[in-house]
């Protein structure tokens, strides 16, 4: 039914996944002593930066973003500004949630905030790209009948996978195995990234297998 869109989504997801991969490999080649565990924050920023840049570029090129009503420069600027603001607010929101989940409040605030930046770039950024800076639409998209296009369904799946991945990533922290990936926030950010990658693969696959059942109301 939407073979074209599914193919577009699959290729977009492949590019994003490749960017995550490159963000891990390239610094390892370029920077001395780079490793996912050892210099975790660096890896984290590199992945968030890469995902942010590539997603924005890919979605802009594909033209998924809802058409703006006005075409003035001022409106576009304010939209950009609001997007940045939402991005930052979402970082703060994730930070709060993670702290409430039991992360240390003061001790490793930088690590916690970096994790929330990663989560934001994996989830909120996609919302921004697909739906624009509109919180109402974000909330509405996460309901059974809220998806209005293939891209919305893909958004649902990737965001859910990322968050569940981060949630599951917290499980090994109390274990007494003394592994480097149990250090806060390594397991959570790894879980989020793996969840995100799973989501990237799962979204086109799921939509493809359910394309008969899916019905979307046109915008």
């Amino acid at each position: 039914m939407w073979d074209h869109e599914i193919r577009a989504m699959a290729s977009a997801h492949a590019i994003i996944a490749a960017s995550v991969f490159m963000a891990t490999v390239l610094p390892a080649a370029a920077v001395q002593g780079f490793s996912v565990y050892g210099t975790h924050l660096l890896w984290l920023y590199s992945v968030s930066g890469a995902v942010t840049a590539v997603s924005v570029a890919v979605f802009w090129l594909l033209g998924i973003t809802p058409p703006t009503k006005k075409h003035t420069v001022g409106y576009k600027l304010s939209r950009l500004f609001r997007s940045c603001l939402y991005f930052f607010l979402s970082c703060l929101f994730f930070h709060t949630v993670v702290v409430l989940y039991g992360a240390p409040l003061i001790e490793s605030a930088l690590e916690t905030f970096s994790l929330s930046v990663l989560l934001t770039s994996l989830t909120t950024l996609r919302c921004l790209c697909v739906l624009g800076p509109n919180v109402q639409a974000w909330i509405r998209v996460f309901s059974r009948h809220g998806a209005m296009s293939v891209w919305d369904t893909g958004l649902q799946i990737t965001v859910a996978c990322t968050l569940v991945g981060a949630w599951i990533g917290a499980f090994p922290i109390p274990l007494d195995w003394d592994r480097p990936w149990q250090v806060w926030p390594v397991s959570c950010s790894l879980g989020a990234t793996i969840g995100f990658l799973t989501g990237l693969v799962a979204a086109p696959a799921w939509i493809h297998s359910h394309r008969k059942q899916l019905t979307y109301k046109c915008k």
Binding site: V99, L100, R140, S143, A170, P174
Partner: protein, 1091 residues
């Protein structure tokens, strides 16, 4: 409403659970048989040809003084001269170090390692019998605490030594009538630092000077009590240790040449002053040996032991004093106190090292033979190995003695190795289980969980009495139990109650399950509409939903020691996750936001919403606000946790220590004010809630409780805290008054509490009726009653119509913020009823509130904050549940059933565990707050029932509160319904009746079914947790951490389940009691109204 089926079903389910737990625990907790033989002087222990009487030989020492300083940790005994700024417990016993350095051949100081459990009674048992303890010491009889095994005190008595005892009265219970003279002092009151010690000091020196004794045992308790009360790091500890230093000096001065002095601790203490566990801080005590005549061959050498195990004291003391080694001792003589071969004789007399070892090895071998004859639990291969080792050693030894050769040092070393290996074998063996009982317990528990789940799914069918009844399973259970008993009598000659119970429980469960399974297919054939309800339980799609996934995770987490250690945080994590799931799931179903400009609705994709957008917005707001409160209290509750010893970098909450321990006065005042504020807020919130729903107008017992007894109890509590926090030194002239207040205030609070709970039970109705002539109308005109009770029908039918009518009026008058119910029945004088809408929940809430204050009394003062958080969290959970129910529209229609979904029940049960931790408890034995036993009884108790129940109430406070309050989950959506409809629907919309909890009376069958379902769901969640910790204990029974983590967790989980289920039954019974009262009230109302 049928009361009996609900209660009997719940009782049956609980009983089955209890049987499962009982069986498993019986098979899991280790058993060691006590050998009831005693060593005698005639035992051929001496080497050589002549069977000499062992006791005739002149012993090395004629007399001994045993100074036992309870909890004398090895750290207290070391002396470090370079330490310039010692902590309060450091360098306070210089006498030991001075003696050891100045008279090296007269004295030694060793670390003295106890076997866990490091409690005083177990330790006294350990260092008098020389045996190893099992997890819970299972003796031949539970009735008497006296030691029946052979022990040192008994042996001293056998050879006619006069044992004089003074100090801790535990000894008097363990060795009744064994002492020549005994001066016991009460030991139970841990707040009392001086009674026991001063009592000993009054008599110690005078006794020592006299000649009326051979062995003097003095057990000082001050150090231990000081640790319990203040912790080791407190100036009081320094005073106490300095006092002990003086005592040891004076005793040393008074010693005679033929006397041995042993100064020892029975166990150590943790950094908080507690003990009982098996960390090195708790097990490593100190032992100091001294004699005015040379005791050791020379100054300390390389071969000195690093650590002396506690059991080794028994053979050493026995041989030094010339008594036989107690029969079941597995200790090893302390070699340095015996001279090497060839240096014996002379004036000293006594045994050489090799002789001592030989006697010891023979005694241990004899015990091993006797024990392996009695019990088959020592593995045969290690037994035969030990036996062959012993026979080899004995031929070696006898050959050496016969030839008169100087013995090789190798022989002594292998004798020592033999003794060590016996000890190791015994230690390994006495960690044995009864796998059959464990398996039976596991099976019964598993089926009990399944039964509980099925009962909860079939509750409606069960209540309608068309389903599988309870009578056949109970009958079968009885028959099976009797059959097993008869078979046992026939085969064994005695009845083992546990197997009868097991057969009964298992057979009744299986019969019930079989009948339920057969029943499952019936409604499909009979009634098509019911087919949706019953047959689809137990499909994976229905089971793998997040509200059941979370308990699954919780159960899985009990299988890992890391998660048990971090349980407090893990449970908080899960509660938070599930709480977040509620709004997310609502949003997924599109119910969180009002479908205002939804294009789908117009297109017909969605059914038109049952609730207006403003209601939805309001309810969502409430939901999110409550989520905020919940999350806030969850986060704050993390700061009240205590610390396990396994958690390295963890600071226990400052609120956990009682106010009396705080030294900073300003901090003390701040804590006190905070506690009193939270107590006041607790009381205020309760009264506020009751007043809001108009429950404080009647003149019943419950209302009296709410109005007077509740505030009065709080005042008592606040005063009690104030009195408890006053330092002992200030107000010396008022000390008697303070003592009186410490006694009277908590007792008064207990009495008030008991009275309040009794009154609530006796007269639970909080409804106030007032006939009145004219109905004041506010703004609205009186609409004629819609339901007219016609005169021709019976009272019962009239009743059915009357209730909605009352509620129409009530809702109208709600707009005034005052709950007035006006009703005109056949133009008779109107009836005004206040608070009918919350007639069920109000007494329950009040009951919980009163109970909470009572339980708070048993906690340290700082926990008032945590209890306030508990109340807030309870309220937030209830409101969230109510809002989500409203949003889902479950109660929007008249005929809906009142089922409580899984999510709130799971949250409720997890919150109980969460607050178990947040009230400073931990599933470990040292963390039990023993102080609770002394609230209101500062001088200790005579019995054990009262202190045990006080400590139980303290430990499981949150379990009790949440279980009693569990039925509130059923009522709250109904209570909240009025407000929802008031805000949402137009005021004139009289077609919808907001009858709050009276709905339940309109449909008693569904009410009963929902109550049963709620209770069984709660029991299922709790039971699943017990089952999982039982599984953990069974699977990991050889795990390194089993006695440290899993076994205590199992005990706490099982006792928590016991307490919870009893409290749940109380809560359900209270609801049923209210129902009876409401029924009676209506009976009275109808004739009055229709007259």
């Amino acid at each position: 409403m049928k009361k009996l089926p609900v209660l009997s079903l719940l009782l049956w389910v609980c009983a089955v659970y209890f049987v499962g737990i009982y069986l498993f625990v019986g098979g899991f907790l280790l058993v060691r048989l006590e050998v009831n033989r005693t060593s005698t002087c005639g035992d051929v222990l001496q080497p050589g040809e002549e069977p000499a009487d062992f006791c005739r030989v002149r012993p090395r020492f004629r007399r001994a003084v045993l100074l036992i300083i309870d909890a004398l940790k090895i750290d207290f005994a070391w002396f470090d001269p370079n330490n310039t700024s010692p902590r309060p417990y450091e360098n306070k016993l210089p006498v030991l170090e001075e003696t050891v350095t100045s008279r090296p051949s007269h004295s030694r100081l060793y670390p003295f390692r106890a076997d866990p459990p490091t409690t005083t009674m177990q330790r006294i048992k350990g260092f008098t019998t020389g045996s190893l303890p099992t997890f819970v010491d299972v003796g031949n009889n539970f009735a008497s605490s006296a030691i029946l095994e052979d022990n040192l005190i008994h042996q001293f008595g056998q050879v006619g030594k006069r044992v004089v005892f003074m100090g801790d009265d535990t000894w008097e219970n363990l060795f009744p009538k064994k002492f020549h003279r005994s001066l016991p002092f009460p030991s139970f009151n841990v707040k009392d630092l001086h009674t026991v010690d001063n009592g000993i000091l009054q008599h110690l020196y005078s006794t020592m000077v006299g000649e009326d004794w051979d062995v003097l045992v003095a057990h000082f308790l001050g150090v231990d009590h000081c640790g319990h009360r203040f912790g080791p790091d407190h100036p009081a500890m320094a005073d106490k240790l300095t006092q002990m230093d003086g005592v040891i000096r004076s005793v040393i001065d008074r010693l005679q040449n033929d006397t041995l002095l042993v100064v020892m601790g029975d166990h150590g203490m943790t950094d908080t002053g507690d003990h009982g566990g098996e960390s090195q801080k708790e097990t490593d005590a100190a032992i100091f040996l001294y004699s005015p005549s040379p005791l050791f061959p020379g100054p300390p050498t390389q071969s000195e032991p690093d650590v002396v195990p506690q059991t080794d004291l028994v053979p050493t003391l026995a041989l030094l004093l010339g008594v036989p080694i107690p029969y079941s001792s597995v200790g090893q003589v302390l070699l340095p106190v015996f001279p090497p071969h060839g240096q014996t004789g002379g004036a000293v007399g006594g045994l050489s090292q090799l002789e001592a070892l030989w006697i010891n090895a023979k005694q241990v071998n004899r015990f091993l033979e006797t024990y392996s004859g009695m019990a088959k639990d020592i593995p045969p291969e290690s037994l035969s190995q030990l036996k062959s080792e012993f026979s080899r050693l004995s031929s070696d030894y006898l050959a050496t003695v016969r030839d008169g050769r100087p013995p090789s040092p190798r022989l002594a070393a292998s004798l020592q190795a033999y003794l060590t290996s016996v000890r190791a074998t015994c230690r390994a063996t006495w960690a044995r289980f009864n796998p059959l009982k464990m398996a039976a317990g596991l099976a019964i528990l598993a089926f009990a969980c399944l039964t509980c789940f099925i009962v909860s799914e079939l509750s409606l069918v069960l209540i309608r009495e068309s389903g599988p009844g309870l009578k056949p399973p109970v009958a079968v259970a009885f028959i099976a139990g009797v059959c097993v008993a008869v078979v046992q009598i026939g085969k064994q000659g005695y009845v083992e109650a546990s197997w009868c119970l097991a057969a009964a429980a298992l057979s009744s469960e299986l019969l019930f399950l079989w009948r339920a399974r057969r029943y499952r297919a019936v409604p499909v054939e009979k009634n098509g509409s019911k087919a949706l309800k019953s047959p689809s339980w137990l499909t994976p799609r229905r089971l793998l939903i997040p509200p059941l996934l979370v308990p699954l995770l919780r159960c899985a987490s009990l299988l890992s020691d890391s998660y048990v250690i971090a349980e407090g945080r893990a449970v908080t994590f899960l509660v938070f996750s599930l709480a977040l799931y509620i709004p997310i799931h609502l949003n997924w179903d599109g119910l969180l936001l009002p479908p205002s400009h939804d294009p789908l609705k117009a297109a017909g994709f969605l059914p038109s919403p049952a609730l207006s957008p403003s209601t939805v917005r309001k309810e969502s707001g409430t939901l999110l606000a409550c989520l905020g409160v919940l999350v806030g209290s969850l986060y704050l509750s993390l700061s009240f946790h205590a610390c396990r010893e396994e958690q390295g970098s963890c600071q226990p909450s400052p609120f956990l220590s009682p106010l009396a321990r705080l030294q900073d006065n300003q901090l003390k005042n701040l804590h006190y004010v905070l506690s009193v504020l939270s107590l006041g807020l607790w009381t205020y919130l309760l009264k506020r809630c009751l007043r809001h729903y108009g429950n404080l107008n009647a003149s019943s017992g419950a209302v009296f409780t709410a109005r007077w007894i509740l505030p009065l109890t709080s005042v008592c509590l606040a005063l009690h805290w104030a009195v408890g926090a006053t330092p002992e030194d200030s107000f010396r002239n008022l000390s008697e008054l303070i003592g009186l207040a410490q006694l009277a205030l908590p007792r008064a609070a207990f009495c008030l509490l008991g009275l309040g709970l009794f009154l609530i039970w006796l007269d639970p109705l909080t409804v106030f009726i007032k006939p009145k002539a004219t109905t004041p109308t506010r703004g609205q005109s009186q609409t004629p009653p819609r339901y007219r009770a016609s005169t021709g029908i019976s009272t019962q039918a009239e009743l059915h119509h009357l209730i909605p009518q009352i509620y129409q009026r009530m809702r109208r008058s709600l707009d005034d913020g005052e709950q007035v119910v006006g009703s005109e029945v056949d133009s008779s004088p109107a009836v005004k009823a206040y608070g009918l809408g919350t007639v069920y929940s109000a007494p329950l809430l009040l009951f919980c509130g009163m109970l909470g204050i009572g339980l708070l009394l048993l906690h340290p003062e700082g926990m008032a904050l945590s209890f306030l958080l508990l109340l807030l969290e309870m309220g937030a959970l209830l409101h969230m549940h109510a809002s989500s129910t409203t949003l889902r529209g479950l109660h929007g229609t008249f005929s809906a059933d009142f089922n409580v979904p899984w999510t709130p029940v799971v949250l409720w049960s997890l919150a109980a565990t969460q607050f178990f931790h947040a009230t400073g408890h931990l599933p470990t034995f040292p963390s039990i707050q023993w102080g609770a036993a002394f609230v209101g009884f500062p001088d200790g108790h005579t019995g054990t029932v009262l202190p045990a129940s006080l400590v139980t109430l303290n430990t499981f406070a949150s379990h009790i509160l949440f279980s009693v309050g569990c039925p509130l989950l059923l009522f709250w959506p109904l209570v909240r319904e009025v407000r929802g409809s008031r805000g949402g629907r137009a005021c004139g919309d009289e077609g919808e009746d907001a009858v709050m909890e009276m709905r339940l009376r309109e449909n008693p069958q569904r009410f009963t079914a929902a109550l049963l379902q709620l209770a069984t769901r709660y029991l299922f969640i709790l039971g699943a947790q017990v089952f999982s910790s039982v599984c953990a204990a069974a699977i990991l029974r050889r795990h390194l951490m089993v006695w440290k983590v899993f076994a205590p967790k199992l005990m706490f989980e099982a006792s928590g389940f016991l307490v919870s289920s009893v409290s749940l039954l109380i809560g359900v019974a209270l609801v049923l009691r209210v129902d009876v009262a409401v029924g009676g009230w209506f009976k009275r109302l109808i004739p009055e109204a229709s007259r």
